[in-house]
Symmetry: C2
Subunit: 377 residues, 2 copies
Amino acid sequence: MPTDPTDLSPLSYGSSGVDYNVIDPFKVAAQRAAASTGSHLDGHGFSEVESSRGESAYVVDVGPFYLASIVECLGSKAMVADSMQALTGKSFFAAIAQDTIAMAVNDLITVGATPLVVQAYWAAGGSEWFADAGRRQALIEGWKRACDLCKVSWGGGETPALAGIVEAGRIDLAASCTGIVSPKDRLSLGAHLGPGDAIVLLASSGIHANGVSLARDLAARLPQGYLTPLTASAVPIGFGEALLEPTVLYSPITEALFKAGVRPHYAANITGHGWRKLMRHRSAFTYRIHAVPDVPPVLKFIQAEALLSDRDAYGTFNMGAGFALFVAAEDAAQTVAVAHKAGLDAWIAGTVEAGPKRLVIESLGLEYDGSDLGLRA
Amino acid sequence: MPTDPTDLSPLSYGSSGVDYNVIDPFKVAAQRAAASTGSHLDGHGFSEVESSRGESAYVVDVGPFYLASIVECLGSKAMVADSMQALTGKSFFAAIAQDTIAMAVNDLITVGATPLVVQAYWAAGGSEWFADAGRRQALIEGWKRACDLCKVSWGGGETPALAGIVEAGRIDLAASCTGIVSPKDRLSLGAHLGPGDAIVLLASSGIHANGVSLARDLAARLPQGYLTPLTASAVPIGFGEALLEPTVLYSPITEALFKAGVRPHYAANITGHGWRKLMRHRSAFTYRIHAVPDVPPVLKFIQAEALLSDRDAYGTFNMGAGFALFVAAEDAAQTVAVAHKAGLDAWIAGTVEAGPKRLVIESLGLEYDGSDLGLRA
């Protein structure tokens, strides 16, 4: 929708055109139909891991190990890169490529899988998208670099030109990822999640790729748009460039944790629905957060300029924490140490408690309950 | 592009906005970068099957069996369903769902894989796409039914609302598929393909999902558009409805062949580039076709109305043959018998010969050479 630069009302996800109230019930209907197909695997001598239904990746027991697979969409972040290319002449598609792979890889690893193969889905609005040499080269190089960082093989993919479906000049980016859970006791679907577990949060690099529609609406009502300087940032950087900081790839951390002997009980990729994703597991637990990380300047800026309450901000954005690991209390310090050793900030942020499904962020006086996250069939 | 209903010049893929001359070299550059990432699998104790690079599915050796994965796009066929819904009030998205799954499954099985898991990628132009109950229900039901036909588990998927990237009212449909090749000697990457092998063609149901942009351009210049009756059809049917006959799912045939003891040396899914796909394998062979199947009425109609030469028609459409199996000569008759038993027409259509990469369709006096198919790095 067009936004009025003089409109100072708060922005929200409903006003940004993504209405989870319409999409979530549809997702639930699709999940129910999908669940009815799982028994087909029996005919092939395998079986699904039923508790992976509704989790971030689907898991199949193929005997010596589990197979995990997923397809994930980037969302609208490529539009920010398009705008920034128009403003600066520079292609940001290397960062966008990493964001796309992160959407898939960071979901796949939540079940305990080692990502092995990524497939590219690059659907352009027309053949001419691929005629811009700098842009297409950035996309290819960024994609390869992200695969190198995650130690996954880029298996191939699909690069259709979809005039009439994808808008002219735009590209719809997605990635599929296949991996294995091996040994099988790496499976982290939450069977061992329970009261007393520690919640370790891993740092985000900025907005990642969720909440971007709202950020685009905000840019539309700022007089300097994407070129607005971020006041809270230590180094001078514009809003658009800060948005395009690539998403952290968390699989090097989960692989290092495995090598260090830490087996997370559960993991949540903090994407759409922001911190509400901490309540992702099907069981009813209360997640109590004692300490929140520093908020990246770009998210601080968005919250201030879009006039978002803490409740809306933490319910929409990652607010500095891109990934959550739920580990045995005695593993919490080592989990943080492994992340630090890999160069990523991490914090023991809270604990899992018996109680109704609820997220309590103490220092902010915030509370969300299970009904705030309608993901399940 | 807008088409002029009075323009009677032949239609072609270039004029339909899909320019393979731009896309194919880009694909080749991406394939080169992708190939450089295959060695990451070694660090996980696995290895890629290098000869699967550039084939229809990517194959990894995970020890007891091979893992195959793929992501595939439907293309523009959903736009035909959109037009037909506007004209008839009926949703054709159940058929479209099957088409989408067929694009992935029919590619995956070419390497000898049993498809196990399909993931849905349904990227809509906005949340409102999902508000049409009949349409979304057809999509879900058709997707489930196609999974049932292929005996695959629908693992989950992604249903983003991508306003600004996907056009309002449209949907970008794709599917990822993961399977295994087991036992490992089912692998059909063409190592055993050679002179004397028989080419068995399996019947298509119509246009499937390739060549649809051209069909849409044709509809735009027909006075009755999608409601034009197909004169060559035995039963009265309109052009649009005939286009929306769902794609044949070939995995029940390849699974039945395995059970019957037939191991194809190679397989080709006849999609974009039409019969030129028969030259898909990297080796130089001459593929000589002695007999062509009957052409489905909808493809006969397109060829006649779009004024296509046989060369253009067979180089673009499946012309009645949706899938090719390259089998040992002594397995050819049984291959046909297995297909017939499964209810699908099939023909021993030709032979593989030593010679330069070339496709010769004798009865039509057609010849294509390897340079007519620029898919490889």
